[in-house]
Symmetry: C2
């Protein structure tokens, strides 16, 4: 069990646009953070709340590739899918739908900034098409998945998986 203290993720709603921005620093290089988001075996190990397990349903991490995964807790399943619009050395742009809300879709843009000394700032922006959708996201409890997931990513980075 990890005894590390984890930096807090900042989760901010834009005051006037249907945008949420998550900012988080890691003891990692930009390359490691990008890889942790693109490699399916790594991604499923750290993403989501800590009391869930996960499986990759399909995953093709390239421009125009599609992805899907499922988180599980007992008999409950939560599935997500989307496509990778663009992937560069410091950016991943992808779409995202939770199948429990099949009409909802967000456009997710993650960028990494090299802070030097093996530190990286991750900035993850979620864009939806209404302020109601933005507020529903904030009320959904996704914050737990974000914080738990990044704490698990810290632990992965402290090991030798990446």
């Amino acid at each position: 069990m990890s005894t590390t203290t984890h930096p807090e993720a900042t989760i901010e709603a834009h005051p006037t646009l249907p945008l949420i921005t998550i900012t988080r620093e890691f003891d990692a290089t930009p390359e490691q953070i990008i890889k942790a988001h693109l490699d399916p075996d790594l991604y499923i190990r750290w993403s989501g709340p800590k009391d869930l397990t996960g499986r990759i349903d399909y995953w093709d991490a390239r421009r125009g590739g599609r992805w899907a995964f499922t988180h599980m807790r007992g008999d409950e399943e939560y599935s997500f899918y989307g496509s990778f619009h663009e992937i560069t050395d410091d950016k991943i742009v992808q779409t995202f739908t939770f199948t429990g809300e099949p009409d909802g879709v967000s456009l997710e843009t993650m960028t990494v900034e090299d802070l030097g000394n093996g530190r990286t700032r991750l900035i993850a922006q979620s864009l939806v098409d209404s302020m109601d959708s933005r507020d529903a996201w904030l009320r959904s409890g996704m914050e737990v998945g974000v914080r738990d997931g990044y704490a698990k990513l810290d632990d992965l980075l402290a090991g030798d998986a990446l």
Copy 2:
């Protein structure tokens, strides 16, 4: 040369969100409008300004499939790419980037409404992440491509291609 008069497309910027909505009616069924957007050979025949020709670079019209096409005028080329996030009988959700502005991306949601009597209303929403991007789109002259393209689609629908 067609002598048809074409209905106007309505192009509206949302007052407070980075959204543009295009609305246009067609003498067609919803199925025909969806097919005209998914079949690459049809799509390249009607899309874009009337003084350009086009080619499909790649096209995989299914959930998670990728697409790219290029419009040409003499030596000029304008390329676009994205992915199909979701496709249903009455909706297509896809991402869209013009390679001349590689950092720009929009999330496009097109829905079709059956008006009866062989008429269909198309509603195409473009979502971007800032009001500046929205306004740049409005200033870009894309309106010509929209209006010319839908006029060419009217002509295709009047023939027997669909």
